[in-house]
């Protein structure tokens, strides 16, 4: 260890500190840029594989199917395996169809579910404002390989979700990883399909 190196180190630290706001700003701009890129997709069709680890269940549950998205607020998740079921979000209504049953829920009655769905819908729509209503956003990586992390801001939501990580390549979402407060988690891998 040589003493003369200290001033240099301090200088570097200082420089780093001075650069911090600029970096922060650059990241902010990146989120905006990402949002703009994402917002360009008006409709999307993709396949998914989802793996859920739930403590109550002895083993993870795997499912697969297709996703449909139409800007700004129509999202449909059609599970084909292991059992056909579908979930459609249209504006403020969530419709779940399983076997013969059809459940229609108003998202406003279930704020936690709404926040959950809005994390995905907001990302697909590139709606930063909507995302920031419930989450603190941070972005890592490059435009080629990015990861957007969403941390819930309010306590009610924190009691349900610990974090959501959405990874993507350029303007396409590739995976959504949700970690719940109780340790249960799910990972959804998304593969873009040609528009039907």
């Amino acid at each position: 260890m040589t003493r003369p190196s200290y001033p240099l180190l301090r200088l570097m630290l200082l420089a780093a500190l001075m650069l911090m706001p600029a970096i922060g700003h650059a990241l902010d701009w990146d989120i905006d840029q990402l949002m703009r890129n994402l917002a360009q997709t008006r409709s999307d069709h993709a396949s998914f594989i989802e793996k859920k680890s739930i403590a109550m269940l002895d083993k993870p549950v795997e499912s697969s199917g297709e996703l449909f998205y139409t800007a700004p607020d129509h999202l449909e998740k059609r599970t084909l395996k292991p059992k056909a079921e579908s979930m459609t979000v249209d504006g403020g209504t969530l419709i779940i169809e399983r076997s013969r049953q059809k459940h229609r829920l108003q998202l406003q009655d279930y704020p936690e579910v709404a926040a959950f769905i809005d994390s995905i819908r907001g990302t697909l729509a590139g709606d930063r404002h909507a995302l920031e209503r419930n989450y603190r956003l941070s972005l890592e990586g490059t435009t080629e390989h990015w990861t957007l992390q969403l941390l819930p801001v309010n306590e009610k939501m924190q009691a349900v979700v610990k974090r959501i990580r959405i990874a993507g390549v350029r303007d396409a979402v590739r995976s959504i990883e949700i970690t719940q407060a109780d340790g249960d988690s799910s990972l959804m891998l998304i593969e873009k399909l040609t528009t039907p």
Binding site: K52, I54, L57, M87, T93, L105
Partner: protein
């Protein structure tokens, strides 16, 4: 002159009568709602309609909207108003989207899920049933809704709560903006307020509206605006509209008539005395209706205003006809008038009474009120003119000499007969018009009677659409002797209706049995629950092949065991939940008769196929199940009235003819009296049609009045002491002008029922007078 002994008695009796009327009137109730148009002896479907309109759930709802300013301010206002109103016992519930009872609702459903869920059967708790239900729940857990059910799984692995929540279809509720309901376009905040008082209690509805308005005014910023609608609001605003119109119109018509009479009489004493029979008649009419019906409808008052124009005729006849040129003894004039003209006037009054008596028979209380009012009013006015007025005239009573006018009229009448051909042509044309339009002559929609303005109706429709408020057009009604029996039937009907929902014939339906199942169903569900040992055993087998351990469900075992012996649900258990309001509205007790209402919702964008639903219901074989289309029911009710009134009017006409035949014993004379009246009726009806007015009941009442008033003219022209004296002609002209003034003012009203009457009577009486002159006996010429 000093009144004679007889005169003093007459005056004393009259004063006593006026005092009595005043007392009755001061205690009278005034209404303006459509309930006056509902029948006295209804069919079961009509009875239901009546009850729903009077105090059904829909009648107690006030929809409020807050407009102006920005969404956040509107939402804040909505919450502030709701807080104030929720503390007011006049309101049962105030909904604006705030989750005030959501917690209680969820608690009620969850704690009582094994009594409430229709999925609870013995099979569901066997090994296979459990296996299937658990598999389902696990799937749900892995689905996006898993978040909702995860915490419930250990206590409710069969998913009864999910079942129950699924029944509460809430798709049509408004969306939330800043924590309160807002319209789709985001332009207004919405509130749905239920009053404790029924919609028929107009005073209470008015107080409720005032309370809402006050809560708004204390909270509001100047830019914000409050709008309200609903059946109760309509009653209040119609009453206000009718009252303000009636008071304004009566001031105008009294002023017009007074000005006219002053011009003729040139004497304030004569004017004041001339109004005595009118005031007496109006008071007698209101008092009679109040005694006979318990309350007085606004329309009756409006009609009363117009009747001033007829009641004043009697005093005109007395004053003008007894005014003989050159006579110095007015007293003797009055006596001779009584001798010469009273029989004619009396016959005129009698024909009017015979005409209106037919209305008394109407099953339509509003119309019977008009009939009673007219009869009482005309009798009182005529009696006062005949027996009281002559004694009140001062010794030197004189009115302005009107003989000049009489002479002019006399010359005119001599030439009137020349117009016979022209009149016949006009009549023929009128006939042709009526024949041409006979299919569309009548308006048989009950809404044609509604005094509610078009802009209010539009506001109502827009708020209703925003709210997705129940439009209680289609209802299934189950009746029975006890709450239990109607709940049981409602459960069976629900099964049928659910099948229709599954087939897409209905979007949904409501039933009180959903929130409060019958005791029988609750018992059956309780009996389906296995003992702890049995359940534990089945559960252990049921989890085989599923990714769960039976030990996870220990809380389930505890809950089931508790549910097996829990007390059955009663109405009181619903307290403070939003479902209490539904049960209260859908389960109705009347003495020892119960009804359950099951409102249906039409499938999205479509209409309900009434035939299909009613066939499905009748195939259940359940007695006392009624499928009601409220709109069709009310329209058919009204068109039933319309036909009834047409028949009654014809009956009145027959009665008048019968009376005249009895008096004159000459078909020719009676024909000559009736002819101008019939001609006037035909011409005025054709005229209304030409101007695009479809006839409603009140037009018909107007026509009856044309006959009643016109009969006086026809009778005067028919008097045998020909030719008709100039003073008689003058009196008829003045009487006619006052009638036209009284009713003509109504024609400018924007309350359709008043307008209809005015537009019929004013031209009708002019025509009756002209026709009477034209068709008078030729000997005058």
């Amino acid at each position: 002159m000093r009144p004679t002994q007889r005169g003093r008695t007459a005056i004393a009796l009259w004063l006593a009568f006026i005092v009595a009327c005043s007392i009755i009137i001061s205690r009278s109730q005034f209404t303006a709602d459509l309930s006056a148009f509902l029948p006295k002896n209804p069919t079961p479907a009509q009875q239901l309609l009546l009850e729903q309109i009077r105090d059904g759930l829909a009648s107690r709802l006030i929809l409020a909207g807050i407009e102006g300013t920005d969404p956040a301010t509107r939402a804040a206002l909505s919450k502030q108003i709701a807080r104030v109103l929720r503390a007011d016992p006049a309101f049962v519930s105030v909904n604006n989207g705030e989750p005030v009872s959501a917690e209680r609702d969820r608690e009620y459903l969850f704690n009582n899920r094994y009594l409430l869920s229709p999925a609870v059967t013995p099979a569901r708790f066997g090994v296979d049933g459990l296996h299937a239900a658990l598999g389902d729940s696990i799937d749900l857990l892995a689905s996006p809704a898993g978040l909702l059910v995860k915490s419930l799984l250990p206590r409710d692995p069969t998913g009864e709560m999910v079942q129950l929540m699924g029944q509460m279809d809430s798709s049509s509720r408004p969306r939330m903006t800043d924590g309160a309901w807002a319209s789709k376009d985001g332009a207004r905040a919405l509130m749905l307020i239920q009053t404790r008082a029924s919609g028929a209690d107009t005073d209470a509805q008015q107080r409720a509206m005032t309370a809402i308005r006050q809560a708004f005014d204390t909270a509001a910023t100047p830019a914000a605006k409050l709008v309200m609608t609903g059946p109760g609001v309509f009653s209040v605003t119609s009453r206000e509209a009718i009252q303000s119109q009636v008071s304004r119109l009566s001031v105008i018509s009294i002023a017009l008539i007074a000005a006219l009479l002053l011009l003729v009489y040139r004497s304030f004493t004569a004017l004041a005395l001339g109004f005595l029979p009118v005031i007496s008649g109006a008071m007698a009419g209101i008092a009679a209706v109040s005694l006979g019906f318990g309350s007085v409808h606004g329309i009756t008052l409006g009609f009363g205003t117009a009747l001033i124009g007829e009641a004043v005729d009697y005093s005109i006849y007395l004053f003008v006809q007894s005014e003989q040129r050159g006579s110095d003894t007015p007293c003797a004039d009055k006596q001779s008038w009584i001798k010469r003209f009273w029989p004619t006037v009396r016959l005129g009054v009698l024909t009017s009474i015979f005409g209106f008596a037919s209305l008394l028979l109407s099953g339509f209380p509003g119309l019977a009120q008009l009939g009673l009012y007219s009869i009482a009013g005309l009798i009182a006015a005529a009696m006062v003119t005949r027996f009281v007025l002559p004694h009140l005239l001062p010794a030197n009573f004189r009115i302005h000499d009107v003989s000049a006018i009489g002479e002019v009229l006399s010359r005119l009448v001599k030439h009137a007969a020349k117009l016979r051909w022209a009149a016949a042509m006009l009549l023929l044309a009128a006939f042709a018009i009526l024949t041409l339009h006979r299919a569309s002559l009548w308006n048989d929609k009950i809404s044609s009677l509604s005094p509610v303005s078009a802009s209010d109706v539009a506001l109502d429709a827009s708020l209703r659409a925003d709210m997705g408020a129940p439009d209680v057009r289609y209802l299934v009604v189950v009746s029975g002797a006890s709450r239990e029996s109607v709940l049981q039937s409602a459960e069976q009907v629900s099964l049928t209706l659910q099948a229709q929902v599954d087939q897409g014939e209905l979007a949904g339906f409501e039933s009180p049995s959903r929130y409060l199942p019958s005791v029988a169903s609750q018992r059956a569900r309780q009996a389906s629950l296995p003992s702890p040992a049995e359940l534990k055993n089945s559960l252990a087998k049921a989890v085989r092949g599923l990714p769960v351990h039976a030990s996870l469900f220990t809380p389930f075992l505890t809950d089931i065991n508790a549910a097996r012996t829990q007390a059955l649900l009663q109405v009181a258990d619903l307290e403070k939940t939003s479902m209490a309001m539904a049960v209260d509205a859908l389960l109705i007790q009347q003495e020892n008769h119960w009804s359950a209402l099951l409102p249906l919702t039409a499938p999205g964008g479509g209409d309900i196929n009434a035939g299909r639903i009613s066939a499905a219901l009748s195939s259940t074989g359940l007695p006392d199940v009624l499928f009601v289309d409220m709109k069709a029911e009310s329209d058919s009710l009204y068109s039933g009235y319309l036909h009834e009134v047409i028949l009654l009017s014809l009956g009145g006409l027959v009665a008048i003819i019968g009376l005249l035949l009895l008096v004159f014993r000459s078909t020719r004379r009676v024909l000559r009296i009736i002819a101008p009246l019939a001609a006037a009726v035909i011409t005025v009806t054709a005229g209304l049609t030409v101007f695009g007015q479809q006839l409603i009941i009140l037009h018909l009442v107007g026509l009856l009045l044309v006959v009643a008033i016109g009969s006086n003219y026809a009778l005067f022209f028919d008097r045998t002491d020909s030719p008709v004296a100039p003073s008689t002609l003058a009196s008829m002209l003045f009487a006619n002008l006052t009638t036209v003034a009284g009713f003509g003012v109504l024609a400018f009203s924007n309350v359709s029922i008043l307008q209809a009457m005015g537009a019929t009577v004013a031209p009708g009486v002019i025509l009756a007078l002209i026709y009477a002159a034209i068709f008078a006996k030729k000997t005058h010429a």
